[in-house]
């Protein structure tokens, strides 16, 4: 959001707290492992897990690189559609369908990224929105592949074989922990990216694009790469959703979904590692709670979001971390 002079990468610290914060992946996994018991319902926990991964991937683009995309739904949806089509139409086993779907979604991200990363600033937001809408309309028209308006159906995964052990995937607890393994993988991957020299480069681009260019970094190429990585992680969330729901609704590709992802990352806190999960959880809990007494929950969510933009741009998690003084490490 607003430019700041934070260190590009958190310095390793020798103190106990610092060491603990270094273990952000393990800490996050620990929280997610007990999440089904913290939240009012299992279904909510699964959704937090899925949307958390999607928003985390988006955070790489928006929070860390400073690129406000309104088209992340394209990759979320692509992951889900490719998984469903691979399983339902071509009979690919689920464990192969997921990497195939992520790979294909990453190719889509490359195509959209080549066009959109040529633009800067506000243009980027508008172009990503438009190109993601293009994906939406293509999915709507190619109904023989995607089921069109009715969404994609007919690829239920009920029983999976985990290293020789048959697991009943319809059981919500089993499902949660299998999907959590995906989330853990995504978190490890994201953490590796952020800790790598490339992670420092994208933050340098956010802080000052001209200076990053002057330092000899290929800004355009880095943007394209981070766009693809971000799309890949978000598409994994889409794969998880497809396995979870056994249907893919067309609305997943609509830019309203992209907008929801943007809302989640801002509610939780852009530029923090665990913020996306906090944001996804807050949004979904809010939606659940308000829709209990009125169907018009969107008006409240919209108002809360406006208040966050005005008064709490660092989000819940980001503000909390600043308040207890460990904001710099951004766990």
């Amino acid at each position: 959001m607003s430019p700041s002079s934070d260190e590009a990468v958190a310095k390793p610290s020798s103190s106990g707290l610092g060491w603990l914060l270094e273990q952000r992946v393990l800490l996050s996994i620990a929280v997610l492992a007990v999440l089904p018991w913290l939240l009012p319902s299992q279904a909510l926990a699964v959704n937090v897990l899925i949307y958390g991964v999607v928003v985390m991937g988006y955070n790489l683009l928006f929070g860390y690189t400073g690129l406000l995309s309104f088209g992340q739904a394209a990759f979320f949806g692509a992951g889900a559609y490719f998984t469903g089509i691979a399983i339902g139409r071509y009979g690919v086993p689920w464990f192969a369908a997921v990497p195939i779907a992520v790979l294909l979604s990453t190719c889509l991200a490359a195509a959209i990224g080549i066009v959109s990363t040529r633009t800067r600033g506000i243009y980027f937001s508008m172009v990503t929105l438009a190109l993601a809408q293009l994906v939406y309309y293509v999915a709507l028209q190619a109904s023989s592949f995607t089921g069109g308006e009715n969404g994609l159906r007919g690829f239920t995964v009920d029983r999976i074989n985990l290293f020789g052990f048959p697991v009943n995937f319809l059981d919500p607890v089993n499902k949660y922990y299998v999907l959590m393994a995906f989330a853990a993988l995504a978190m490890w991957f994201q953490s590796r990216i952020l800790n790598s020299p490339f992670g420092a480069v994208i933050e340098a681009i956010r802080e000052n694009e001209q200076r990053a260019r002057a330092c000899g970094y290929d800004v355009e190429r880095s943007k394209l790469i981070v766009f693809m990585l971000s799309g890949a992680i978000s598409s994994l969330g889409g794969c998880m959703l497809a396995l979870h729901l056994s249907i893919v609704p067309l609305d997943l590709l609509h830019y309203q979904t992209s907008g929801m992802i943007v809302m989640m990352v801002l509610l939780g806190g852009a530029r923090s590692f665990f913020g996306p999960f906090v944001g996804a959880a807050s949004f979904l809990i809010l939606e659940d709670a308000i829709s209990l007494w009125t169907p018009h929950w969107q008006i409240f969510v919209g108002a809360i979001f406006v208040l966050f933009v005005l008064f709490l741009p660092k989000g819940i998690w980001g503000t909390l971390l600043d308040a207890i003084g460990i904001g710099k490490a951004r766990p």
């Binding site: 959109s116 600033g121 506000i122 293009l134 309203q256 018009h296 406006v306 005005l310």
Partner: protein
């Protein structure tokens, strides 16, 4: 393929494009002056259509709706600028975009509460019902009226911007707001007026589109994507660009609908992608500002 059919479809495209031009113009003028992209532009287009419909049924005449809805919604736009957008000047360029995105949620849901979620038919004014014989085919009177009205609005806007003192202040303010303040112009008031004008144009687009599309709370989301595409093709901040690109998109949509109907919704995005690959700043955009 019959040539007269193609010409008729071309005219349809111009009518479709005319509404796009008016809507995209509001977006592009606001960006050119304030550096703000209004994400609620589509929602305000939709509210304009509802306001036009409501005022028309209240007064019993479409013409009152057409006149009053843009003024009323434009005033509402000024309120939005004054209460919300103004706080974000000087912050990141993304913040107004995010704020107006949240606002569009509120507006759409608000309309759902007041008018319900279902579409409402918007009757064509009785004077403009039916078709006109153009010699080569029949064309809806209402669409001809839309083309003519948009042409007049464009002419008035152009004359105001180029030939009057107000236009001079607006153009200078877009170049350098600080100097304008030094010269004693209250730039805050100019911004307020421009935002109101932009929102008023969105509402005008909504009222005009009403009889051609059905009026429903979701109509703004499609329009927003279309307006984005038009402004990106034309070059953000460029008025000429919005006009050229709006007509270009309208005409391509209706010509493609003639030959390959399933491609009609996709063609404008493809057009945008091609333009971006060749000229990232848009056809009439200034390089360096946004691209």
């Amino acid at each position: 393929m019959d040539l007269s059919l193609i010409i008729m479809q071309l005219l349809s495209g111009i009518a479709l494009g005319a509404v796009l031009v008016i809507t995209a113009l509001g977006l592009t003028i606001v960006f050119g002056m304030l550096g703000v992209v209004n994400f609620a532009h589509g929602a305000l287009f939709m509210i304009g259509a509802y306001a036009g419909l409501y005022l028309a049924s209240l007064t019993g005449s479409f013409w009152w709706g057409l006149l009053l809805a843009p003024i009323l919604i434009g005033a509402f736009g000024m309120l939005i600028e004054f209460v919300l957008i103004r706080r974000l000047y000087g912050r990141s360029i993304d913040d107004p975009l995010l704020l107006t995105f949240g606002l569009s949620y509120i507006l759409v849901e608000g309309v759902r509460i007041v008018f319900g979620s279902d579409g409402i038919p918007f009757p064509t004014p009785p004077q403009l019902v039916g078709v006109l014989d153009l010699g080569i085919g029949f064309f809806p009177r209402y669409r001809l009226f839309v083309i003519a009205l948009v042409a007049v609005v464009l002419l008035v806007l152009w004359l105001t911007l180029e030939k009057t003192r107000i236009g001079l202040i607006v153009r200078a303010g877009a170049r350098d707001p600080t100097i304008m303040q030094v010269l004693g112009v209250d730039i805050g008031r100019v911004w307020l007026a421009i935002f109101g004008l932009g929102v008023g144009l969105a509402a005008l687009g909504g009222v005009l589109a009403g009889p051609m599309r059905s009026v429903n709370p979701e109509m703004g989301s499609l329009v927003l994507a279309e307006a984005f595409v038009v402004t990106v093709i034309g070059g953000l901040g460029s008025i000429v660009g919005a006009v050229v690109a709006g007509l270009m998109v309208g005409i391509s949509i209706s010509l493609v609908a003639l030959f390959a109907p399933e491609m009609a919704t996709i063609v404008m995005f493809a057009l945008m992608a091609v333009v971006l690959l060749i000229r990232p700043q848009g056809l009439f955009g200034v390089r360096g500002r946004t691209a």
